[in-house]
């Protein structure tokens, strides 16, 4: 075995080195489309850009619309920047866009300018359902596992036709257990 120790050391060193490029990422941070905004304002700008949907038809959040000279994204971004610099709160910015776009489309855009459902009224169902399903199915799975594993009196056949690979793997595992 000694003659292969060098090979394992090489593998370990390469494994460690592959993590090295990760180390100096810590200096990287958030971003902003705006040059006038700094610090917290830029963070608010980015967060609000994620809260709104661009109205050019791309169906992307405002921060993601990459259309050249987009007739929707550019004025929307400018307006967010103006409102942030004007001292308005995030909710005031969102309310402005909901009112501004309410009558521009049919059916009315209104809440459709927001990138995610609200956490009130019927929209709350959107948020709740996945977690309700998760809870219910987790309960059912635990129940099934316990129920199936408590059954007695019926033998547990392996497969009708066991796979050659399983047999091989079982033996490898037996070998490993014996050597550990």
């Amino acid at each position: 075995m000694k003659k292969y120790r060098g090979a394992w050391t090489t593998v370990a060193i390469w494994g460690f080195l592959s993590l090295v490029p990760l180390q100096d990422l810590s200096s990287q941070g958030g971003s902003s489309h705006s040059t006038k905004l700094t610090g917290k304002e830029a963070q608010r700008f980015n967060a609000l850009s994620e809260e709104l949907i661009c109205q050019c038809g791309c169906n992307l959040v405002l921060g993601q619309c990459g259309h050249i000279n987009c007739p929707s994204a550019i004025p929307m971004r400018n307006m967010i920047e103006t409102m942030i610099l004007g001292g308005q709160s995030d909710q005031e910015v969102l309310n402005y866009f909901m009112n501004e776009y309410r009558f521009r489309d049919h059916p009315p855009v209104g809440k459709a300018i927001l990138s995610q459902p609200a956490t009130e009224g019927f929209d709350l169902v959107a948020w709740i359902m996945p977690f309700v399903l998760f809870a219910v199915s987790a309960f059912v799975t635990v129940y099934l596992v316990l129920r199936f594993s408590r059954r007695t009196g019926v033998p547990s056949p392996v497969s009708a036709a066991p796979l050659a690979e399983d047999d091989y793997q079982k033996r490898i595992e037996d070998e490993l257990k014996r050597t550990e």
Partner: protein, 608 residues
């Protein structure tokens, strides 16, 4: 040109590759591609089983052909790709005419990824129709033994591999072509491709329980039916326009065809399952709650919840509009908030599942199996939290990735060492033989490792950085670690498009590392603009430059610049995933038993 489809999606100056790939640029062509791929699959299946499975094959062929008839009907009655160009006269009479040139292909589709992405994805979508055909054939014929499962596994894996590759190619196309710096936007079209992939993944895991223990037959049939229906539903979502607005559904006839077919397929499948329920009942039981079988059940649970979350978010706007009358959007923030915790739990199971033994695992052996990977992951996670990031999901994702990576690595090391000891093989030979003689198991581990690499790539997005720069010729600017010099801003005219571009030299530590040419193109035939992103890729990060146009003075290039860490890991992970799946797909090594005997003999000798 006298065919409407040809005139709509091509033009004479379009390069020949794109003329051919314009085949699937529109709705009618995409539906025809479905039929074409399904014909290929049906042909391959018929040839493969021409001398076997005589009870299943006739029914399987019928089921595949029913799907074929459905898609050909759509082409005949709703989206005919051979429709001629016609002029409608005032009296209602129609006259055929020939157009001098076509309107050209959408510039976004004029990209190499679009040559292979749609056929690859369709190989996945359509491929799932084959295991579905086997399942329904088994239900109709009453031959519910292991036959259909064994026939289905490889075809499902084959389709799953293409679906995975198709999804990733779609992500790559979005990344390099759409110019917003990302690869996944939770668009309904993307979601439609992800859903059957998730249920297909669940099926590939749970099918092993039926193979080994003859359990969960109803569950497996249900999963493959769900996968097939989600493929059809995905095509319906993307083709009917129902997601953009519930009103779009009523406008075209294609949505009604889809809904009718989906309901019929669902009804027949449920009726057949109910009819065969007595034969599908499980006769055996789980030996222990702590077993590989149980872990697969939890894996299925999480996968299905994840699939539901995607489906729910995708169709919720339709539901909300129908209930409240007000249109809403469910965008990326919703999907990220709901799916990220689920995906992280799934990542944990990717590592934890293989640590459980089949049938029964004692707590002691479980503790032992978890010990090393957990210690490595906690140390790695601690270092990441201390030196790299405090982003909660980021730290959890990196920690779990290290955990799963360690599990896979330890499995390979243990197996390789066993072979080295038993056969005195060189490590590389032992590793090769380990994989080669148990392709299904170690191919699966490679796929799990690929998921780790993909997760690392995705998690890199927490470090994304973007900025906008205006630069004239000769100007120099800094973006993170890069020094960029704008060498030129110029214009070019080609038969297909006009292009305006910047020529940039990128330096790092005084060394020139890239020569970039981001473009702003204007396609003549379609009269549409498009960006050609310039990319400098590395394992650490991508420098991603978009030429957004000229400033007001017309002398400076406006550049949108992104620094996206670890994106390359995503593409490498995808390649590893395909490799692992290919290994699983290879035929099992026939001399396994003989090899095992040799191993055991060698071990016995070593002990003495």
């Amino acid at each position: 040109m006298h065919i409407e489809y040809v005139a709509s999606y091509t033009n004479r100056d379009l390069p020949i590759f794109y003329k051919l790939t314009a085949f699937w640029a529109g709705q009618a062509g995409s539906l025809l591609l479905w039929s074409l791929v399904l014909s290929g699959y049906s042909f391959a299946v018929t040839i493969r089983y021409r001398n076997s499975h005589q009870e299943l094959m006739p029914w399987a062929t019928v089921v595949a052909m029913v799907t074929q008839v459905f898609f050909l009907s759509l082409n005949l009655w709703s989206a005919n790709p051979f429709q001629e160009l016609v002029t409608v006269h005032a009296n209602g009479a129609l006259t055929a005419f020939t157009a001098a040139d076509g309107r050209g292909l959408n510039p976004l589709l004029q990209h190499p990824a679009m040559i292979i992405h749609p056929p690859t994805l369709f190989m996945g979508y359509v491929g799932f129709a084959i295991p579905f055909a086997f399942a329904i054939a088994a239900l109709i014929s009453g031959r519910l033994n292991d036959d259909w499962i064994k026939m289905s596994r490889r075809w499902t894996l084959f389709a799953w591999m293409f679906q995975s590759a198709g999804i990733m190619l779609g992500g790559w196309w979005a990344y390099v072509e759409l110019g917003w710096g990302g690869y996944w936007a939770w668009d309904p079209v993307e979601n439609a491709s992800l859903m059957p992939w998730i249920t297909g993944t669940a099926f590939l895991h749970s099918v092993m329980i039926q193979e080994k223990k003859n359990m969960f037959k109803v569950w497996n049939v249900s999963l493959i039916v769900a996968t097939y229906l989600l493929c059809i539903f995905g095509t319906f979502l993307t083709r009917s326009g129902v997601v953009s607005s519930v009103h779009a559904f009523a406008k075209g006839s294609i949505g009604k065809f889809f809904v009718t077919f989906i309901l019929l397929a669902l009804g027949v499948s449920v009726w057949l399952v109910l009819k065969r329920l007595p034969q599908l009942k499980t006769e055996s039981h789980l030996d222990s709650a702590l077993s590989r079988e149980s872990s697969f059940l939890f894996n299925n649970l999480v996968l299905l919840v994840s699939c539901f979350a995607v489906l729910w978010g995708t169709v919720f706007p339709v539901l909300s509009e129908a209930v409240t009358g007000e249109k809403i959007v469910v965008g990326a923030p919703f999907f990220n908030k709901v799916n990220v915790p689920i995906a992280l739990f799934l990542l944990f199971l990717t590592g934890a599942g293989p640590l459980f033994a089949w049938r029964k695992t004692s707590l002691a052996s479980l503790k032992k199996a978890f010990l090393y990977p957990s210690v490595i992951a906690l140390v790695g996670g601690g270092l990441i939290a201390a030196f790299l990031t405090r982003h909660v999901y980021g730290v959890i994702s990196f920690t779990l990735s290290i955990f799963v990576g360690a599990v896979v690595l330890i499995e390979f090391v243990k197996g390789t060492r066993a072979r080295m000891r038993a056969n005195a093989e060189h490590p590389t030979v032992a590793l090769k033989n380990l994989i080669w003689k148990n392709k299904r198991r170690y191919g699966g581990y490679i796929v799990h490792f690929a998921m780790v690499v993909i997760f690392v790539g995705i998690t890199g997005s927490i470090f994304n950085f973007e900025t906008k720069v205006e630069a004239g010729i000769g100007e120099r600017f800094r973006v993170k670690d890069y020094e960029v010099v704008c060498q030129n801003i110029s214009f070019e005219d080609t038969p297909n498009y006009q292009t305006q571009f910047a020529v940039l030299d990128v330096y790092q530590d005084a060394d020139r590392v890239a020569h970039m040419k981001p473009e702003y193109r204007f396609y003549k035939a379609s009269q549409q603009p498009s960006t050609e992103v310039a990319l400098h890729k590395s394992l650490k990060e991508d420098l991603y430059v978009v030429f957004a146009g000229l400033d007001d003075s017309q002398r400076k290039a406006v550049l949108q610049i992104y620094v996206n860490p670890l994106v390359t890991w995503l593409w490498i992970g995808s390649e590893i995933l395909v490799l692992g799946t290919l290994i699983c797909l290879l035929p099992a090594y026939q001399e396994d038993r003989q090899e095992t005997k040799i191993l055991a003999k060698e071990k016995a000798r070593e002990k003495v």
